[in-house]
Symmetry: C2
Subunit: 164 residues, 2 copies
Amino acid sequence: MSTPAAAAPGSEENWLRLDSQICFSLQAASRAFNGVYRVILKDLGLTYPQYLVMLVLWEEGELPVKKLGEHLRLDSGTLSPLLKRLESAGLVRRERSARDERSVEVRLTEEGTALRERAVRVPRRIVAATGLDLREIGELRERLDQLTSALDTAALEEELGDGG
Amino acid sequence: MSTPAAAAPGSEENWLRLDSQICFSLQAASRAFNGVYRVILKDLGLTYPQYLVMLVLWEEGELPVKKLGEHLRLDSGTLSPLLKRLESAGLVRRERSARDERSVEVRLTEEGTALRERAVRVPRRIVAATGLDLREIGELRERLDQLTSALDTAALEEELGDGG
DNA sequence: CACAATTCAGTTGTGCACAACTAAATAGCC
DNA sequence: GGCTATTTAGTTGTGCACAACTGAATTGTG
C-alpha cells in the first residue's frame, strides 16, 4: 500500500504482496463495473447478470437454458433462480421443449422484447463511464480474454494433481 | 461471439453487443482467477476473500474491522460473517477494543500466523497460472486501477442525478 | 451535564457463483 | 425390448457482495 517497490525480489516473502495485486485490481474493477451497472440498470429493474441474460436473448431470440449458460459461462445453479426472477418480472417465459423434455426453452415476452428499446442507451453510458475509447477497450478486452484462457488452462492442470 | 467486428458503428443497436464485452471479459477474468485460487487455496482451507483478509493481517498485524474493510473495499456486511468463519477455523481472534468499545480488533492466532508459511508458495503459482511476467502484470494492474477509479467517479456522478 | 450527530460492528434480506446432488428424459448398445 | 450412460434442469447448501437497518459507543456542542 505504502511501498510499491518490493525489495529482494528473490524472496518468496515479498510475493505475498505482489500476487494479490493483479487479481485484486481485477476484482476491484469488476465490482466497480457492477456498481455503475447497478445505478444505471436500476431504472430497468435489472441486475447486471439479468441484463447479460437479456442481452443474449435480444441477440439470439429464444434458446435453451443450456445454451444460455454456455454464452455466459454460468451453470443451472445460477441460471435457474435468476430466470425464475426474470419470469416473475414478466420479461421471459420458460417452457419445456416439446422435442426434448429435458430442455427448457427461454424466450422473451412482449414486455421483455420491449425493454430493449430502453436498454439501448445503457452501453453508451457505460463506455463513457470507463473514460476509455473503443480502441482502448478493445485492447484491454483482448488482454483479459487471453488472461482468462491462460487461467482456465492452469486451473485444469492444477486440478489434475499438479501439486505445484 | 462469431462476428468480432460490429457493423454500422453509429447505430445504438450495435452497442448492445460491444458494451457487454469489456465488463464481461473483466468478470470472466475475475471468475477465472477465483477458480484458480479455489483450487490452490483448498489445501489451506481458505476461500479467496478469506485469503485476502489473511494477507492484510500478515502484513499489518492486528487491525480493526473498519481498517480491514478499507484495505479490501468491503463493508461489515461482508466482513462480519467472513471473520466469524475465520475465527471458528481458529485463524483469528476478534476482541472489542478497550479504548473504543465500538471497534473490534482482529488479530491472528498462532495458527493463523503459522499458516503464512504454507501460503508463501501460493503467489508464485498464481503468477505462473497467468502466463504473464511481472512487467505485464504491473501494466495490466495499472490499467485496471485507472479504470476502477474512473468507474467509481462515474458511479458517483450517476448517483447524483445525472440521468444520462 | 444533556442532547444530537456520527461512528462502528453486526444483522437481515436479496441476489449471484458454484459444488454436489437429484430426477427425468434421451441416446446408444446388446 | 431392456440396459446403462449421458444429458439437462432443478434443488440444496455454502460463501460472498451489498443495501438498509439496528444498537451501542463516542464525539461535538451548548
